[in-house]
Structures are given as C-alpha cells and as structure tokens.
C-alpha cells in the first residue's frame, strides 16, 4: 500500500541515503502516513527482507532522518494494543522522496548491466 501525495519533483542535488536509511524510507513509503511507525516499519522490513531488525536501530534512524528533514512525524490516536499510548506516525517529506529517488536511481545505474552477475531479471 502506497498512500499519500508523493508526486513531487526530484531535485538533482538530493542527498544520497545510506542502505538502512533507504530501507526504512521505503518501508515508510509502503506503509503510508497512517501506518508508518517504529513497530510496523521494523515488522515490514523483517517481513520483506527476512532480516532480523532491531527496533532500536529503526528508532535511531528515524530520529536522524527527521533531523535531516527527510521525514516528519506526529502523534496518532491512542491505541489499546499499545496500552492506550499513541504511536508516532512518520510521513516521508518531499525532500525524503527526492533522496529515495536519487539513491535508487544511482543503484539502478550501477547495477543495470550486471544482471548476469547479480541474477536479476530487471
């Protein structure tokens, strides 16, 4: 599920993301602004990549992405499964989307003609 208005222009000077930052940003994009918080992002990464993800790392990464202005956050509604506490929902900012696009474009450009080695179809 990809929701939210992400149809923004990509700037050429968008910052490149580190690998885990990119994965966290992609998970937040997949979950959308209504469902992207630390627990669900960690679960999404674990489910899709099979990695064992430490929630502390997700928490730290989201904090730093927010400091860089690549994501923004706000408190959601309190939920009973959280003991009546609200989740902090993260939304990918336009500059964050530009950074994701720039990073994935760089990866595609570098892996484009290596499919015979990497075993990728696209």
């Amino acid at each position: 599920v990809v929701s939210g208005d992400y149809s923004h222009n990509v700037t050429k000077d968008a910052r490149a993301l580190a690998e885990f930052e990119l994965i966290v940003m992609l998970a937040a994009l997949r979950l959308g602004p209504e469902q992207a918080y630390t627990v669900t992002i960690a679960d999404e990464i674990r489910r899709r990549t099979g990695r064992s993800v430490r929630r502390a790392n997700v928490y730290t990464t989201l904090q730093r992405l927010e400091e860089k202005g690549l994501v923004s956050s706000e408190l959601g509604e309190p939920r009973p499964e959280r003991g009546g506490r609200p989740p902090r929902l993260f939304t990918v900012a336009p500059s964050g989307l530009a950074a994701v696009r720039a990073t994935t474009a760089a990866i595609r450009a570098m892996t484009g003609d290596l499919s015979h080695l990497l075993g990728e179809t696209s």
Partner: protein, 221 residues
C-alpha cells in the same frame, strides 16, 4: 499482560519527553505481539532485552546530541584571531636589518598616513560638532535644542541664541532651562531635574547693564 514495568519505566525515563509515550507504546505493542506468537516467558525475556537495547540507543542518541550541541557552541564562541604570529615579528625584524632604507621610508609613509587620517578626522569633527566659542567650552558635555513639534534638533535656534547673547546690551545674564523628568523612584514622588540656564551654567555673563526682569531672566527660552 503488559510489558515489564521496569522496562516501560526505563525507556520512558531515557526517551526525550515529547517521545516518551510513543517509545513506551512501541515496547508495549511489541510485547503484545510476542505474547501471542511466543508465549509469556519468551515474551518477557525478549521484551526485557529489547528494552535494554532501546535504552542503550536512547542514551547513545542523547550523548550524540549533546556532543553536537557542544560542538556548535564551541564554533559559535570561537575567539577572533588577529592572524599575527611570532613568525611575523621575526620576518619584520629580518627585513629591518636587510633593508633599512625601505624600513625608514615605510615607517615615514605610515606616519604620514596616520597624520593625514587624524587631520581629516579632526576637520570632519569640527565641521559637524564644533565646540562653542566660550571659555571652558570643552567642559560642556552636551548642548542641544530640541524642537518638540518637528521632533528633531533645532540648529537654527542655537545659532540665534549665540547671536542674541553677543548683541545683548542691557541684559546682565541670559539663561535657558528646561525640565527633565527622570524615571527615578524617590520618596515623595518622581524626581525632577532642571537643566540649567546656558550662560550662568557656562560661567559667561552678558556684556553690560542691569539684570533684566521679566520673561528673559525668568528663563523658559
């Protein structure tokens, strides 16, 4: 069954205040999921380990922010360096010995430039803020005529005052005053200070004649 209390307390205390509730909520939600998937004991152990892991991350993040804040503070307070070092003095001394003529000419040129600067500064000062042609005029700290209606300094009145004082024939002394309200708290009300009459305060008397009665001697001009 909720997450271990000590774990919730720990992460709540270590998280920044605006994020304490959602960090504890994350721990509670993760614990609930483990309870369903893995059972009570495993959930308690895993949640305890995760609480320690999150707490360590929170402490690291707090220390990092403190380091960044201190580094910014140091950069902000960095003193201005003049850029003069011991090598500059050594070079100057060696050039003095090696080229004495050039040193003398350079010194004279700098002295001349300083003299020209001082002369120009004094000239501008005399044109813009001349001293009054009175004995001990340098003791006058300020003499200002303020046009209340126009909201500015009244230069013309100062000129007229000087001309008028020089042309006096029958007035012994000419003074002017104004009341200045100070915002000083004193017992019995507000302190009032009267700025004194011009000629008497300056120790200058008019040319001749008896002291005049009436508005001129009473002041207020």
């Amino acid at each position: 069954v909720s997450a271990p209390r000590w774990a919730l307390w720990l992460v709540t205390r270590l998280a920044p205040p605006p994020q304490a509730a959602d960090v504890a909520g994350d721990l509670a939600e993760a614990h609930r999921g483990r309870l369903i998937r893995r059972g009570r004991v495993a959930a308690w152990l895993l949640t305890s380990l995760e609480a320690l892991d999150v707490s360590a991350a929170l402490v690291r993040e707090r220390l990092r922010r403190r380091r960044v804040s201190r580094a910014r503070g140091r950069a902000h307070r960095r003193p201005i360096r003049l850029g003069v070092s011991w090598l500059d003095f050594r070079l100057g001394f060696r050039m003095l010995i090696k080229h004495p003529g050039l040193t003398v000419v350079g010194g004279l040129a700098m002295a001349f430039a300083i003299a020209v600067g001082v002369f120009a500064f004094e000239l501008v000062l005399q044109l813009t803020r001349p001293t009054l042609p009175l004995p001990d005029a340098e003791r006058v700290v300020a003499l200002r005529l303020w046009h209340t209606a126009a909201g500015g300094v009244e230069e013309q009145a100062l000129y007229d005052y000087r001309i008028w004082r020089e042309q006096l024939a029958s007035v012994d002394a000419l003074g002017a005053y104004r009341d200045v309200d100070r915002s000083l708290g004193v017992s019995g009300g507000q302190a009032g200070v009267g700025a004194g009459g011009g000629d008497q305060r300056l120790g200058v008397r008019g040319r001749a004649g008896p002291a005049a009665a009436g508005p001129a001697s009473a002041g207020g001009g």
